[in-house]
Symmetry: C2
Subunit: 168 residues, 2 copies
């Protein structure tokens, strides 16, 4: 696979048949535990329930018949805050550097606009996850908040997390 494959990445909404595909993508990232505030020991069942909960629309990214990533989009708040959406993105470790995160974000931004959201907010971007921070910045997200030592990084200890925001 090469960077030229980016355009061949296809996204579709998940179905109940995608449990294994989702877990294959989620497990390495959740177990590593250095980017998401998910219990690293989370069970497969809990992880799938979380990633596909009823408030979310969840998508699967596929490339050459392989599952390379997944993301969800949901209202970040209810009631009078539901015009701002929130997303979570996970790329399969073996599919890094292929533009999967960018493709998913572009899909999410289109989806968000089509749904009528005014803005997209990431509530907790671990500051040491520079790969993600740099991509989000490229797409116009600002760091609008810094949460001091809010993440207990497995290797680095307490590090900051960012709140990132993009008006659509």
């Amino acid at each position: 696979m090469s960077k030229d494959d980016t355009q061949r990445i296809r996204l579709r909404e998940v179905s109940p048949d995608d449990t294994e595909a989702l877990w294959d993508i989620l497990e390495p990232t959740f177990r590593r535990g250095d980017t998401y505030t998910i219990d690293p020991m989370i069970s497969k069942q809990e992880a799938i329930a979380y990633w596909t909960s009823s408030d979310k629309s969840t998508f699967l990214a596929r490339l050459h018949e392989k599952n390379v990533g997944t993301y969800y989009i949901r209202p970040n708040q209810s009631g009078r805050g539901n015009h701002v959406c929130n997303c979570g993105f996970i790329t399969h470790p073996k599919a890094r550097g292929l533009g999967v995160a960018r493709q998913m974000l572009e899909h999410a931004l289109k989806k968000a606009k089509a749904t009528g959201y005014h803005a997209m907010q990431f509530n907790f971007v671990v500051s040491t996850n520079t790969r993600a921070v740099d991509i989000w910045k490229t797409y116009g997200f600002d760091i609008v908040g810094t949460l001091p030592e809010a993440f207990d990084h497995p290797a680095l200890g307490l590090v900051d997390a960012y709140v990132m925001y993009k008006t659509l």
Copy 2:
């Protein structure tokens, strides 16, 4: 009731018998809809389920045998973010100005320290809720983030919301 009554405010953890007491406090604030991102039309059952969900410890503030306020405390994130707590506070409209919010916050801060939390985070303080913002600042909370136009205020339209944070 006067300001001298502040010291007579007592807090205790809620029990299933407190449904009516909680709803009496929650309903006016949720219906008014100018401080919380809760659907203003939320049902009693949904509101109680939200305010007393299993991730939360929920308390009732009483003064002279009246229910004057309620708050919850919970981990703001799971996994490696669970050393930061989050709280929600609601004072009964008829008990305003008696120091109920301050008493609840002091109780929450003690509870948070005793539980071993490192910090307390408020994810969404509506910027026009100056009463709350001022109290939180008095107790050492900083505005660490501003979410542009993230709240659709029923009277004022789109206004900012703050992320507020206090290291314990």
